[in-house]
């Protein structure tokens, strides 16, 4: 919500700068951005009263001298004769109507009304709606304007629960579904209460007689409607957060005053319906409790002084909460008020000492399994639980994000399979992944299972010992013997026929219920040391990688180290990784064969073969300068 600095400062005696007001608003918890001379206020869930000029000024009164006496129409008003029925008094315990007729619609606005449109660069609508919008900006109370000539029968406020078409005054056609609080005329919805009015009874630029509705709606009746029907509504933001139930007379009298400043009023009358008394909230004065909650030591005088500035009324022994502060009910609420006035950052810290408990090893089995897998080249992944496929045990999401995420997964392996194929498409030829997660299944109630799932395919590792070995069931069984020597593990081979891939490597998976193997896990001392410092991530490339191999024959063994040093440290912006994939020492022939793999990838584009050849040739040339080495077949 946008509030002009100019409009705020004109009621502040000290004439603070925009930065000073900004600092004050932050201290009070009113988050905002500044754009030119405009505060763009963030909506908070509980302070509907502050979504207005007056609301912010009431809070700023703790720092500045504020004059909030905007002029209102003070003459006696005739009672409006209105055929109105409220069939949902709990939802709308208070409502007032104003009927007002002018002799001519003004072409130019004056004073605060004119400033409002000019300073906030707003488009005008029609005279009465413009007044209503300004009034909401100034007071925080939304009002709705009906063209009185279109209200020709009984107006009914009620709750409906049927599908009904409704065209809003914003020319949007919506179908009301579920429960909605509405105003109807001749059994036709003319206003979605607290959210948006209807086109059929809206004011136009020619409207000279208006019915102004000023209501208090329970937030529960309004909440979620604007999102449900995709309607931008500042009124609903305010009603959802709670408006002042006792402001109707003042707001409607201000409405009349604003009209009178811009047009000649021919006739005006008002009626208020109050179905329930608004009980004011009273909280006992308990300064020591406030000091205890905050951890400070202020005097009662100082405490009450802060509250008085915020508009609270101090009576003998208790504090009366003003009607515009429906969010304040308890000592803790008052403690927050005092903390805001003092400034959270000005409250001194007080040493905390939580009694230390005897430490239990919370890592346990999962930790052993994790570190075992890490040491053997497995990467941990985390997948969201939402899947498209149903199964007998799958839990259905009632309101999924889309049809591909309608169920909760019943296994982790399918997620890992997607991860594996994703990485294969990115030219990875050694993929080992695992995930440990809760899996939820339906049955009699919801059943939770803590599962470990692994998936692996391709080369065992990217080094000269493991490069030519392929991951298969035999490899994994042997591997898991180390940590689960006594468990029977059901490794599965996932057939590739139905998968969208041309790669032939065997895919092996395992999914186990951790509870079932908890007695089988033997002690495992991790080798991997996880980094203590947090690594600065380097953005990854989305472009494909490719590789080149170079195999050397070395007769002079002294040169092996030199070659390794040269190649493994070779720097080029397009070289992503280098490793030795082959090493063989032939004692009979007294020669060493050593193969290096170079992985190429650009961050900016797909590399062309000429670019790779250029680097490849440069590497060969540099390496062949080392005497005693050869590249067979070159």
């Amino acid at each position: 919500m946008k509030i002009a600095y100019k409009h705020l400062v004109q009621d502040i005696e000290e004439n603070p700068t925009i930065e000073q007001i900004s600092d004050s608003l932050f201290q009070l918890g009113h988050e905002h951005e500044i754009d030119g001379g405009i505060f763009d206020m963030e909506f908070t869930p509980n302070r509907g009263d502050c979504l207005s000029l007056n609301g912010l000024l009431r809070d700023l009164a703790v720092f500045y001298t504020i004059d909030l006496n905007q002029e209102i129409y003070n003459e006696e008003l005739n009672e409006l004769q209105l055929d109105f029925e409220n069939l949902s008094k709990n939802t709308c315990p208070k409502i007032s109507f104003l009927k007002l007729e002018i002799d001519q619609v003004p072409e130019i606005y004056k004073d605060s009304l004119a400033d409002y449109f000019l300073d906030l660069s707003l488009n005008k609508n029609n005279f009465f709606t413009d007044i209503s919008n300004y009034l909401s900006y100034e007071t925080g109370q939304p009002t709705h304007c009906y063209d009185a000539s279109k209200i020709n029968s009984k107006l009914v406020f009620h709750e409906i629960e049927k599908n009904e078409e409704f065209e809003t005054l914003l020319d949007k056609k919506i179908t009301l579904t579920g429960k909605n609080s509405v105003f109807s005329l001749n059994n036709e919805v003319i206003n979605l209460a607290g959210v948006v009015g209807g086109k059929s009874t809206s004011c136009s630029i020619n409207t000279k007689t208006v019915f102004v509705e000023c209501a208090f709606f329970q937030p529960e009746a309004i909440i979620g409607k604007s999102v449900k029907y995709d309607i931008q509504s500042e009124a609903s933001h305010k009603f959802e957060r709670g408006v002042d139930p006792d402001c109707h007379d003042r707001v409607l009298r201000r409405f009349i005053k604003l009209v009178s400043e811009n047009a000649n009023i021919k006739d005006v009358s008002i009626i208020s319906y109050k179905y329930k008394d608004n009980q004011s909230t009273q909280i006992p004065i308990n300064t020591s409790k406030i000091n205890q909650i905050i951890g400070i030591n202020i005097s009662e005088k100082e405490y009450l002084n802060h509250l008085l500035k915020l508009g609270f009324v101090v009576e003998e022994g208790f504090i009366e909460v003003p009607s515009f502060r429906s969010d304040v009910k308890t000592q803790n609420d008052l403690a927050e008020e005092v903390s805001r006035v003092l400034g959270y950052d000005n409250i001194a810290k007080s040493e905390i000492s939580i009694p230390k408990k005897e430490r239990t090893n919370h890592k346990g089995i999962e930790s052993k399994l994790k570190y075992f897998l890490l040491d053997n080249g497995f990467y941990e992944v985390i997948n969201p639980p939402f899947v498209s496929l149903s199964s007998e045990e799958a839990i259905k999401v009632d309101n999924p994000l889309d049809s591909n995420r309608k169920f909760l997964r019943t296994n982790i392996t399918n997620s890992l399979l997607e991860n594996l194929l994703f990485n294969e498409r990115r030219q990875k030829d050694s993929i080992k992944l695992f995930e440990i997660s809760d899996v939820y299944l339906s049955g009699s109630g919801v059943n939770k299972k803590r599962k470990l799932s692994i998936i692996a395919s391709g080369r065992v590792g990217l080094n000269f010992e493991d490069f030519s070995k392929k991951i298969n069931t035999k490899y994994l069984i042997a591997l898991f013997q180390e940590i689960l020597p006594n468990a029977t593990l059901d490794f599965k081979i996932i057939p590739r026929e139905s998968l969208d891939t041309k790669i032939k490597n065997e895919i092996v998976s395992l999914e186990i219920d951790i509870k079932n193997i908890s007695n089988d896990v033997i002690n495992y001392k991790e080798i991997s040391k996880h980094p203590q410092d947090f690594i600065q991530y380097k953005p990854i490339s989305e472009h494909p990688s490719s590789f080149k191999d170079i195999s050397y024959l070395i007769k002079d063994f002294n040169k092996v180290q030199e070659l390794e040093n040269l190649l493994l440290n070779y720097q080029n912006e397009f070289i992503k990784n280098i490793y030795i994939f082959d090493y063989f020492k032939n004692d009979k022939k007294e020669e060493i064969k050593i193969g290096f793999r170079f992985i190429f990838q650009s961050k900016k584009a797909t590399l062309k073969s000429e670019q790779i050849e250029l680097i490849y040739n440069e590497i060969i040339q540099k390496s062949l300068k080392i005497k005693g080495i050869d590249i067979p077949g070159l």
Partner: protein
């Protein structure tokens, strides 16, 4: 000249895997909090409205309770927890004060765009004892933030609103670029919540705080797109070892 037979083969570099950076961050935060005296409590990701909302003073009118924020399952009989706070409710129902719990794990919100994911991770803590104050909460938060981001980092407290804490605050840190970044939410436990858990709010008070793990991990690692964490891309994951 060295003997040919004694030549040392190249170093055999075994590729080590890595913990997922989010789990690593979560565990690091939990370890830190354990060192302050907190103990871990666990709870389910599928929760009831009672534990996820009612017990935490999140009224039916609160925006979080609307269908557009919360994933409901099994014909609205349950929901996917929207925060880890229900775990603490379960903990408080089981034990008597003084108590200091932390819970960490996955939470779910019906949101999916460049900056929000339908699944993310939180770590939350609660400490209930006699005379726990906002001034003590500030001390704890300073200790947490300084441990995570260094003693020199500047932080500020802003008033905020959470139904389960009163007073409530959000805490920002000042980035190297001079921008305030929101890091965590915290506050004094609303006495209604203590009473809901059969803890006498006239005798005890509590403090609570919650951190978004992805947010901290993004700042610590310099990851700018939250979605990178969940692509399971080995080029991404292999950087965190």
């Amino acid at each position: 000249m060295p003997d040919h037979k004694d030549i040392t083969p190249p170093e055999l570099i075994k590729d080590r895997g890595s913990l997922h950076p989010i789990n690593h961050m979560k565990d690091s935060i939990m370890e830190l909090l354990i060192s302050f005296g907190f103990e871990i409590v666990d709870g389910p990701e599928i929760e009831t409205e009672e534990f996820n909302f009612d017990m935490l003073n999140i009224k039916k009118s609160h925006p979080a309770r609307q269908m557009h924020d919360t994933f409901y399952v099994e014909n609205k009989s349950n929901l996917l927890r929207t925060h880890t706070s229900p775990v603490q409710i379960r903990g408080m129902l089981e034990k008597k004060p003084p108590l200091a719990f932390i819970s960490g794990g996955k939470v779910y919100r019906k949101d999916d765009d460049a900056t929000h994911l339908p699944m993310f991770h939180q770590v939350e803590g609660i400490y209930v004892d006699e005379n726990v104050s906002f001034a003590q909460l500030k001390d704890l938060i300073y200790k947490i933030i300084h441990s995570l981001f260094g003693d020199d980092v500047e932080l500020r407290f802003r008033p905020s609103y959470f139904p389960f804490t009163e007073p409530s605050a959000e805490v920002d840190i000042l980035s190297k670029e001079g921008k305030w970044l929101e890091i965590l939410g915290c506050g004094i436990v609303n006495p209604v919540v203590l009473d809901n858990c059969n803890i006498d709010s006239s005798a005890y008070s509590g403090l609570a705080f919650g951190l978004g793990v992805e947010r901290i991990a993004m700042l610590k690692h310099g990851v700018t797109d939250i979605r990178e964490f969940y692509k399971s891309n080995l080029d991404f994951l292999s950087q965190f070892k």
